[in-house]
């Protein structure tokens, strides 16, 4: 999408306001936490590595039938820089793509950061952490890149579905096929690059800890859950969310609430009065900013205490 197969840079106007606002609110403290794990002295390295990802996206790999793919880079960054630093680099890349290249929307930036810099990076880091040793190494590289792309795509599909974007079985199936193909290409390119990087200097790779902590175990569980939900959606079951909500005993009005902004397009384009909602949205954004600033201050105070 957005000119490149498989990269899911969501534009503005597609996600509903509660969805993009919630993801903006979730992404900001998560980036704050990633920044805490990253040393300022590494900033030049991370900046140049971000530039490397841009360059890598210009290098084509023949994928057959006259088509070609290219590296997306989330998994490669996670495996070479570590997950916290990779999140920061990918966030910087997404900010620049939004501002300079009109690739992704400014309001949907939080959603794109959430999908690619958070879910994409952690979905890569977890299999790498557990598998990238001994004879499983190449499989670990492949699984990291494959899951990174697939988890990002599944998250985007869920967000679109919750926003009320009309998707039928055929659209979901075609999208799933494109995403799986992209994920396989990403996996194969990443294996090819990682094998050479490893030969050049094994010190450039992050060494996974052999004894995972409890927090990592929880994260692994969350990732598996996310993948399960993602597969539910991309396996041609567009009504999966309604079924999930029904199983959880929630009323259908939650869905109606999320879908409302899309459902009212007609009223808006016909000149409906939505200034009240616009003001409410601005107030909501202000509250999100104050909340995030407050949480950030609290984190900094705890750190310095």
């Amino acid at each position: 999408m957005s000119g490149r197969i498989g990269s899911v840079h969501i534009a503005d106007g597609i996600l509903s306001a509660p969805v993009w606002a919630a993801l903006d609110a979730a992404a900001i403290p998560a980036i704050g936490l990633a920044a805490r794990r990253t040393r300022v002295e590494h900033a030049p390295l991370l900046g140049v590595m971000g530039a490397f990802v841009f360059a890598a996206q210009r290098m084509n790999f023949p994928a057959g039938l006259g088509t070609s793919g290219h590296l997306l880079g989330g998994a490669l960054l996670a495996m070479t820089l570590g997950p916290g630093a990779a999140t920061i680099v990918l966030t910087a890349i997404l900010v620049l793509q939004t501002l300079v290249f009109q690739d992704g929307g400014i309001l949907a930036l939080g959603a794109n950061v959430f999908n690619m810099a958070l879910i994409g990076v952690w979905a890569a880091w977890i299999p790498y952490r557990f598998l990238a040793q001994g004879k499983w190494k190449n499989f670990g590289y492949f699984a990291a890149a494959f899951l990174s792309v697939l988890a990002s795509a599944a998250a985007a599909m869920i967000e679109l579905r919750v926003s009320g974007v009309a998707l039928n079985g055929a659209v979901v199936s075609i999208s799933a096929a494109v995403f799986v193909t992209t994920a396989i290409i990403e996996g194969l390119i990443t294996v090819a690059v990682m094998q050479t990087i490893e030969k050049m200097n094994p010190g450039w790779l992050q060494t996974p800890d052999t004894r995972p902590s409890r927090a990592m175990g929880l994260l692994a569980g969350a990732a598996v859950l996310l993948m399960a939900v993602g597969v539910l959606f991309i396996s041609g079951a567009p009504d999966g969310l309604e079924a999930l909500v029904a199983q959880l005993g929630l009323e259908s009005r939650e869905i109606a609430y999320f879908q409302a902004p899309m459902a009212e397009y007609e009223a808006r384009i016909a000149g409906g009065d939505w200034s009240r909602k616009a003001l409410a949205g601005l107030a909501g954004l202000g509250m999100i900013y104050i909340l995030c600033a407050g949480v950030g201050r609290l984190l900094v105070r705890q750190r310095s205490a």
Partner: protein, 191 residues
């Protein structure tokens, strides 16, 4: 929505950002909403939804183009920092912007050299190995470049932040402009 579009165009005119250039640059966003618009049209058989989706995406991109035509990236990054963005993220953004073209050019030169040496022919496996190897070499060169850059910065007394020659400060003009812009947007929506 037409009124909001008019507001955006008025601001582009006031900023003397070049109307046609801005309209053209914002069209880079179109592939994504157009594909979703077509899907929406196909699934719901209602073109109104599709049009609204594309117009909203395009307007948002137009406003981003206006921002980029009137404000330098350096100023935007410093603004981000004053809003409380983590300093390390701002530093990464500054380094990324500085070295983006340098590393992309190096990658393109390497690709050109590779094609001129052996062409884009051969078995697919060997093409992949070759392209993967080229990317790994670029990775290594970028790593080395980053280390040199960091050493050079330290040698020049870098202490964790870039020094601004002209300090930022919010003036009454900024507040007035923000108020006028907000009033115009809300007024256009109110009608």
């Amino acid at each position: 929505m037409a009124a909001l579009a008019a507001v955006a165009i008025v601001w582009i005119a006031i900023a003397r950002a070049g109307l046609f250039r801005s309209l053209f640059k914002a069209s880079a966003i179109l592939p994504f909403p157009l594909s979703f618009g077509l899907i929406s049209w196909w699934v719901s058989a209602d073109p109104t939804l599709a049009v609204a989706l594309v117009v909203r995406s395009y307007l948002s991109a137009l406003v981003v183009v206006l921002l980029m035509s009137t404000t330098t990236l350096a100023d935007i990054f410093r603004g981000l920092q004053s809003f409380g963005a983590p300093p390390v993220l701002v530093l990464v953004l500054q380094s990324l912007t500085r070295y983006l073209q340098v590393v992309v050019d190096q990658g393109l030169r390497m690709r050109r050299a590779s094609i001129s040496r052996s062409g884009n022919t051969g078995r697919r496996y060997s093409l992949w190995r070759r392209a993967g190897g080229a990317l790994a070499v670029l990775f290594g060169k970028s790593y080395g470049r980053a280390e040199n850059v960091h050493r050079a910065m330290l040698a020049r007394g870098f202490q964790g932040t870039f020094i601004a020659l002209r300090p930022h400060a919010l003036e009454w003009r900024d507040f007035a402009l923000t108020a006028v812009a907000a009033a115009m947007s809300v007024g256009a929506a109110w009608r």
